[in-house]
Symmetry: C2
Subunit: 135 residues, 2 copies
Amino acid sequence: MLKVSRKFEYGLHAVVFLARKEPEAVVTVKEMSLEIGFSQEFLAKAMQNLKRAGIAVSVQGVNGGYRLAKSPDDITVSDIGRAIEGEPHLMRCSAENGKCEIQATCTHRPYMFMLERRIDSLLADTTVTSLLLSR
Amino acid sequence: MLKVSRKFEYGLHAVVFLARKEPEAVVTVKEMSLEIGFSQEFLAKAMQNLKRAGIAVSVQGVNGGYRLAKSPDDITVSDIGRAIEGEPHLMRCSAENGKCEIQATCTHRPYMFMLERRIDSLLADTTVTSLLLSR
DNA sequence: CAAAACAAGACAAATTTAAACCTATTTATC
DNA sequence: GATAAATAGGTTTAAATTTGTCTTGTTTTG
């Protein structure tokens, strides 16, 4: 229930991994996937998502790789989620623009939408820095 | 991202539907599925989950059906989620008892676990009654 | 006993997720 | 300039999960 995708987990770990390095250090997908221990190709996709979302920066060519685009203080779990899985949509009617087979009788949409926003707020309050500090 | 299953949506709607009736009214799955507008057989499965979780009560035989087992005040979105989708597990390591391929270097588990609990608290604060009142 | 309804397992279809594959393009280095 | 290391990104395959159906059984009222 309410779980995130494996791709999200990969991306999250990669961001935390990068956050532990020097800010300017460029790390290859290969290194990250070996160090952390999962599919290189699949992590590469997650990194591309993170790049497009402005969370990571890529450097092409030999000695290339990725580094964070901004401070770990300014990257939240919500940002990573949106980058990799898209906008949060608790219910289908949230994703599909209010369309739903039971629109007529449904009274609980406003409340559920609020719940959706509150959940996202929790994710948005969790920065990568806070993940680094825990343990 | 972070969406609930269709089965959960069906179950939620059914519970709200029952909550609008008189407390002792027994309603068939057929009536609910026709009224609300989705697969009768599939809703039946959701109702069985709700029954096993002590949220609904079934009455077998002719004139049978379901009614709520308790007040809409005492049924939360979290209860319904657990009944239908099981315990909330944001990450795999939460579901699989801490096991994860990157245990060694992972520093962010405690924080993510807290996040998971906070999300569940939000769901647990949302009663079926609050859903009825909204709009 | 017949019909209406839940119970529950097995099966099938559809969708989503995860992973692999392949061909580019970029770029440092020799 | 050739080569090798790396990202870019599209296509396809495979696995897993979700969704839905089917079938058989049980309960209960009339």
